[in-house]
């Protein structure tokens, strides 16, 4: 199994367009860094993501088993995750700090521990 860091590196590349966006303001989503996140009971991988302040990115989150949710309240990001359907949210890391995300759709007995963090530097 690949490490979360390896998954993060594999998941980063430029994209031409994005779907759901947490913030529709400029700059456009074209050529933004794409970070792929895998969601399954009861983890996000990667579960720690490092971003640069002021550099927007796209999270592409895909659930592989059951219905999950992704919410990062302090980053204004939310997505409902249906199995096998990638969902994209735009992240505008305007402040430094550590921001937490979690699954907000009850997905079983480990649901409360399905969480992660975004570290903005």
């Amino acid at each position: 199994m690949k490490s979360p860091r390896a998954l993060l590196l594999l998941g980063v590349w430029a994209v031409a367009a994005c779907g759901t966006a947490a913030d529709d303001s400029a700059p456009s989503d074209a050529n933004l860094q794409l970070i792929k996140i895998a969601a399954r009971r009861w983890t996000f991988a990667p579960d720690t993501i490092h971003l640069q302040q002021g550099v927007p990115v796209i999270f592409e989150i895909t659930a592989s088993d059951v219905h999950h949710g992704f919410v990062a309240p302090d980053l204004g990001a939310h997505a409902d995750l249906f199995p096998g359907i990638p969902e994209r949210v735009r992240i505008n890391p305007s402040k430094t700090g550590t921001f937490y995300f979690h699954c907000d759709y009850y997905c079983g007995m480990g649901h409360e521990g399905m969480e992660g963090q975004v570290v903005v530097e």
Binding site: V71, T98, F99, Y100, H102, D104, Y106, C107, G108, H111
Partner: protein, 326 residues
């Protein structure tokens, strides 16, 4: 776990003695005014209540009374690092309450009666065990689910055993409403329940005293820890025209007091394990068991409704062992 023998507790305590003896380390918190209680007008003197109920208020007499709020017992939970005696706390508390000479008018459990499981048979077994243990309580019981009870199956097993997940009732001049913000996987109250809430409250005067029970907080306490109800603002909007609303909730496993406009919110401690305060940075990690201070942060609550003095008095009660020590 259904065969756990409750630890013995001292017998024949009066309510005052019970509160006094069990309030070691606890506090008394004077809460919401009770203006508008049936039979208790602002010009009542010398403790004499005005005669006759007013239309549009909750029905019943304006007697002093008290009820207990027990929350988050998580029956079935196993976590030696946070409570190696988790299966003892509920039976002990049942025994202690029953040992009081004065019984509350009722006891409400504000959710997470059981710890969650993906096995429906285990879920049902835990709820039946919980029901068996609590059936030993002498006072009337009111239940409501937490997400650990109901989120996995939209409350199906819970309803089989305990009945409706949201309801209302009147008691001695106060209108009580139990809301369900856990059965939906998104933890929404939902349009249907919000409509029901508005209809349920519609006959009441704006001054009618209303107590709301909920499992999750009805405001964004800490959304990054899932301490919120996504559509709580709509419930607050419905409640806001009523001048005397107090909310008692659970979920966060600690005592906390908050005000939304004129609406007061009070969370209760857990009977199973403690969680960190909202100010704590990082993840929502349960507080480790401290053998030097066992059961620190655990407990339950007595709520004394006193129309004459127009306030609720909240007493935070620790869990006691058979030797009388918390």
């Amino acid at each position: 776990m259904s065969n756990v023998t409750p630890r013995p507790a001292p017998l024949n305590r009066s309510r005052r003695d019970l509160l006094k003896l069990m309030n070691l380390g606890g506090v008394v918190f004077a809460s919401s005014l009770l203006r508008g209680v049936v039979g208790c007008s602002s010009d009542a003197k010398d403790g004499q209540a005005a005669a006759g109920p007013r239309s549009g208020t909750a029905r019943g007499a304006a007697d002093d009374f008290f009820f207990l709020q027990l929350s988050d017992p998580h029956w079935g939970f196993s976590g030696p690092a946070v409570n190696p005696e988790a299966d003892q706390e509920l039976p002990s508390t049942v025994a202690t309450i029953n040992a009081s000479a004065a019984q509350p008018d009722f006891i409400v459990f504000t959710g997470d009666l059981t710890h969650n499981t993906d096995d429906v048979d285990v879920r049902r077994m835990r709820m039946l065990e919980f029901q068996t243990i609590t059936s030993g309580l002498q006072a009337p019981l009111r239940f409501m689910p937490g997400e650990h009870d109901a989120a996995a199956d939209a409350g199906a097993v819970y309803q089989e055993i305990f009945g409706q997940t949201h309801y209302s009732f009147d008691h001695k001049g106060i209108h009580f409403v139990a809301l369900d913000n856990v059965s939906d996987p998104h933890a929404m109250l939902g349009a249907d329940q919000l409509h029901w809430l508005g209809s349920d409250l519609a006959p009441l005067d704006a001054q009618a005293p209303i107590v709301v029970f909920a499992h999750r907080p009805l405001w964004d306490l800490k959304p990054e820890w899932d301490w919120a109800t996504p559509d709580a603002a709509q419930a607050i909007e419905i409640l806001m025209p009523y001048e005397n609303v107090t909310v008692f909730f659970g979920h966060i496993h600690q005592e906390l007091h908050h005000t939304t406009g004129h609406i007061q919110h009070h969370s209760a401690r857990s009977l199973a394990f403690a969680l960190p305060t909202p100010e704590t940075p990082g993840m929502r990690t349960p507080i480790p068991w401290d053998p030097n201070h066992p059961r620190a942060g655990l407990g339950y609550r007595s709520v004394e409704a006193t129309p004459v003095s127009q306030e609720y008095k909240l007493s935070e009660l620790p869990i006691q062992t058979g030797d009388g020590a918390p």
